[in-house]
Symmetry: C2
Subunit: 258 residues, 2 copies
């Protein structure tokens, strides 16, 4: 089976106009597909509305018990069901899932040493339940995964959505031909971050090293590309980085093995 | 296929001790099963925490746009995923769903005349998607439905969980042998509401009329029993009302046709 795994960020999910356009394009994609979505900004604003102060450390969220409850409500509740209902209206038979649903993704709570990130989960090496995903895909459904997983012992855990997308793509790639697409707010990886026409068409691990050394790729792009190259190394056929508004056209950065 | 449809109220879902006991019993039930859960009290307290005042009219919630967002977050988010993760830990392969997921339940927004209840949905006569439920059941999964549905045009709607349970039971009963169980805080329908040992073992439509006339059955029990008798009239094999803590024992009220 050919399967597309598409990751879209919280900035798209939280913007009704961007989301409407993305949903229309995603629904039009042919073949088996899986959507993974974020929702971080809305979780932070919901925490503030409830009088909680979002705690971040080195750009990562500290998920204490109160923050976990908000993350589950926002990611698995409002964001996920809103995306699913819009996809249904666009003719796409979406089914929204956390990792607990159908035991789709099991994670282990990250060690509190050296830093206690709270209820944050790292996905088990064999934590992605490919048979359940294939059952849903073969029944014509489109799994829509949020950034909540479980440990199998009754605890929900928060996991970065980019990591979920690459883990799902790598696990399915053992048997299937998988394309992984990261959608974000730029048309691809840019040689000049201020020039949207400077999309780098292809990056390999060795050219990536050069882009990091020159500073062309920096900050938030580095964990995203690290995740993406892990997927290339694990047999995902094609890893693509492109604009969330351009899902159906050809402007993109493709990551390849050397 | 024999299918049990079990409804459990928000008071159980929101009480960790009651929920742990219920989850253990539900996981132990053999055969195909579907769980429908409420969560109303937690939605009201979340509304208040966000500075909203829950609006009720004749015992029914008015669901404006803000209240809908909270209902989706609480029912489809926190309550649903918490129940699913606990069931997974108990060895039950639960999959949490709103009506939008897999287009499992479609509803139509209730007419704003004579009373505008807001984003409240009445389930379409053919609104329950039995093929998707059977696909999940045949794959060994246990659907866990919350009180959120969709209209198929991108809008989420709130529906009473008792109504969801009877609608699902009636729809499945066209092909399958269905048992519908309403779990609540009493051991059954009581002849004397202050005496828990006064459980009425069997009620038929004609004895129900007498119980209403004498005042033995009143207030909140009436819509619950009305829903339950609709299921009896629609071919649900067995409709049972019992205590949420007694899922595995025989103390119960059974509703039967005359």
């Amino acid at each position: 089976m050919k399967i597309k795994v598409i990751k879209v960020g919280g900035n798209v999910v939280e913007d009704p106009r961007l989301l409407a356009s993305f949903v229309r394009d995603f629904a039009a994609l042919e073949g088996a597909k899986v959507l993974v979505h974020g929702g971080g900004v809305m979780a932070s604003s919901m925490q503030r509305a409830l009088g909680q102060e979002p705690k971040m450390l080195q750009g990562r969220r500290i998920t204490d018990a109160e923050a976990l409850k908000v993350a589950v409500m926002v990611y698995a509740g409002w964001c996920n069901k809103n995306v699913v209902s819009l996809l249904q209206a666009a003719g796409c038979n979406a089914i929204g899932l956390s990792g607990a649903d159908g035991n789709v993704i099991r994670a282990v709570r990250r060690s509190p040493v050296p830093v206690d990130y709270g209820f944050v989960g790292d996905i088990f090496p064999d934590g992605v339940n490919c048979p359940v995903l294939r059952t849903l895909l073969e029944a014509g459904m489109v799994p829509v995964l949020c950034a909540i997983n479980h440990d199998g012992a009754g605890t929900l855990l928060n996991t970065n959505a980019d990591t979920i997308a690459s883990s799902v793509a790598c696990a399915l790639a053992v048997e299937d031909e998988v394309e992984l697409v990261y959608c974000f707010e730029k048309p691809g990886v840019l040689a000049d971050k201020d020039d949207d026409s400077s999309v780098i068409p292809v990056i390999t691990p060795s050219s990536y090293a050069g882009l990091k050394a020159s500073g062309a790729v920096a900050e938030g792009m580095i964990p995203k590309l690290d995740n993406a190259f892990k997927a290339v190394a694990s047999g995902v056929r094609s890893v693509i980085i492109k604009h969330a508004g351009n899902l159906l056209n050809d402007t993109r950065t493709t990551l390849k093995a050397d």
